[in-house]
């Protein structure tokens, strides 16, 4: 690890004034410290922002606001989250380990880097780590990589589970900018696709940091499911994951939400399938057709073709589980 200057910030505005190319913020540290050990992140100075970010969950009748410093575990233990936004808690609990969830911050979860093996191996080319060097995963070991939305420059996937639920629930990210103003950005627009700038994971402006996440009250607290398929039963990144939520009127689907992790550079919403499900009867046939709609346009790489049928099954299972949850 390269030596760095460490400082603790006493105010949000002070932290933002220090932000530049060679300075990085640290909150939970579960990803950044690891990246620093591997010389992938080499900040010249590190600013501890744990005491300046909001660390409370506040609720009102219409929405919930989660401060950027709220630890992952705290979200899953929050009574309002459990009652009104249980999909979020379920997705968080599917990720990492209890130790890491105790450390990891909400803002950091959004900003975590991909776990593509070539991004982590500094002896290999990687456009995300070193722009312009090429993508090793495209023709390499890419069984964990993307099946949709990738470019010829990068096939990495976003590793978060929490973000899949936030995408499904149409959350909003609130940013604080350098002049201490707040700006909102729709969650689904926060992360980006690699295109020609694979080194950029998201649309967070250079002069801003994440202040909080908010979710509007929604009818998805009864019929929801998070299905995560991985190489082992727990404590592994998703091969594919599906967050599903249904609003039902009797057996008819009023509206549906479907999002996936492990498939793209950003948490992926299946809006076409959501539209298809609207107004249909909640039956196994409908679910299967929605899954087919999702998987028909996918373009797997050389080693991850298995993700297509896996995702098909995960979508069907998630939608079926939505019905079980209601009983």
């Amino acid at each position: 690890m390269r030596p760095f200057i460490f400082s603790k910030s006493s105010a949000l505005s002070q932290a933002l004034s220090k932000k530049n190319n060679t300075t990085q913020f640290i909150a939970g540290g579960t990803n950044l410290v690891d990246l620093m050990k591997k010389n992938i992140a080499q900040p010249e100075s590190l600013v501890d922002i744990t005491t300046v970010l909001p660390d409370k969950i506040t609720t009102n009748t219409k929405s919930i606001q989660i401060g950027a410093m709220v630890r992952n575990t705290a979200i899953t233990n929050n009574a309002t989250v459990k009652a009104k936004y249980p999909l979020l808690a379920k997705a968080i609990l599917a990720g990492a380990s209890p130790q890491i969830r105790n450390m990891a911050s909400t803002g950091g979860n959004l900003l975590q880097r991909t776990r593509c093996p070539y991004f982590y191996d500094i002896t290999t080319p990687c456009n995300k780590r070193k722009p312009g060097t090429g993508c090793s995963a495209m023709q390499g070991q890419n069984r964990m990589n993307a099946i949709v939305g990738y470019s010829d420059q990068c096939v990495a996937v976003h590793p978060s589970d929490m973000c899949v639920a936030l995408a499904a629930l149409d959350a909003t990210v609130t940013l604080t900018t350098k002049n201490n103003k707040q700006e909102n950005i729709a969650f689904t627009n926060f992360h980006r696709l690699p295109e020609n700038l694979p080194e950029r994971d998201n649309n967070l402006p250079a002069n801003a940091l994440i202040h909080s996440i908010s979710i509007n009250e929604n009818p998805f607290n009864k019929n929801y499911a998070y299905v995560k398929l991985r190489d082992r039963d727990s404590y592994a990144f998703a091969l594919v994951s599906v967050a599903a939520a249904l609003q039902l009127s009797g057996n008819t689907i009023v509206q549906a939400r479907l999002a996936s992790g492990g498939v793209a550079h950003k948490p992926w919403r299946w809006t076409e399938a959501e539209q298809y499900l609207k107004g249909k009867a909640a039956t196994a046939t409908t679910f299967s057709e929605a899954a087919t709609m999702i998987t028909k346009g996918l373009k797997p790489l050389s080693h991850n073709g298995f993700k297509v049928p896996l995702l098909h099954g995960a979508v069907e299972t998630a939608l079926q589980n939505c019905l079980v949850a209601s009983q």
Binding site: P3, F4, F6, T30, K37, D48, Q99, N102, S234
Partner: protein, 194 residues
């Protein structure tokens, strides 16, 4: 004579050209390349940490993780270094009563917080009930992952995640055991669980 001159000229110009070719295209990339040759001096921070209810004032490199502070600086070697990348749980300790990975925690960030390690679990000569349970239920074989397993197990019970074997397994999944003593570990936790 003339020939030697031209050979030297050739070597000079070609090496200059080669050097130019190696300079990355953008100023930022060039800066990144140059940075690799000049390693800055290490930064040292004064820290006050409370470990097992004992206060320590110590100077440490800013890069020091809590794990290295414990093992290398304070010689509290009960906490083990397994993978050093947050994948195995061998380094699990409690910070302010919650289980965390000491290998991914910078020592500078626990200043003013209360750290508990495996050495701080027993009450003098009387083992913590979880330590006793691990002995009685064969919760380990080689013992390397055991301090992390026990710290995690104590937290697992405190958090109330002991409702079923499946729940225990899920909430202990951050601690790997290469000997495969998992059944004994689950039994130890069941024994201590209320």
């Amino acid at each position: 004579m003339k020939q030697e001159h031209s050979r030297r000229f050739f070597l000079k110009t070609s090496s200059v050209l080669a050097a130019f070719a190696m300079i990355p295209r953008t100023a930022k990339a060039f800066y990144e390349e140059v940075k690799n040759f000049f390693v800055p001096n290490k930064e040292v921070l004064p820290l006050t940490v409370s470990i097992n209810k004992k206060k320590y004032s110590i100077k440490a490199d800013t890069r020091t993780t809590l794990l290295d502070l414990l093992r290398e600086d304070l010689h509290l070697t009960g906490t083990k270094k397994g993978c050093d990348h947050g994948q195995c749980g061998a380094c699990t300790v409690h910070v302010n009563g919650e289980r965390v990975l000491s290998c991914l925690t910078l020592a500078a960030m626990v200043s003013g917080k209360e750290v508990t390690t495996i050495e701080g679990l027993a009450n003098e000569d009387k083992l913590h009930p979880m330590q006793q349970a691990f002995i009685e239920c064969d919760g380990f074989q080689c013992g390397y992952c055991t301090p992390g397993q026990i710290m995690s197990a104590v937290a697992c019970v405190n958090e109330g995640h002991t409702g079923s074997v499946a729940e225990i397994k899920e909430f202990m999944s951050g601690n790997l055991c290469r000997c495969g003593a998992y059944n004994g570990i689950v039994q130890s936790i069941q024994k201590v669980a209320p």
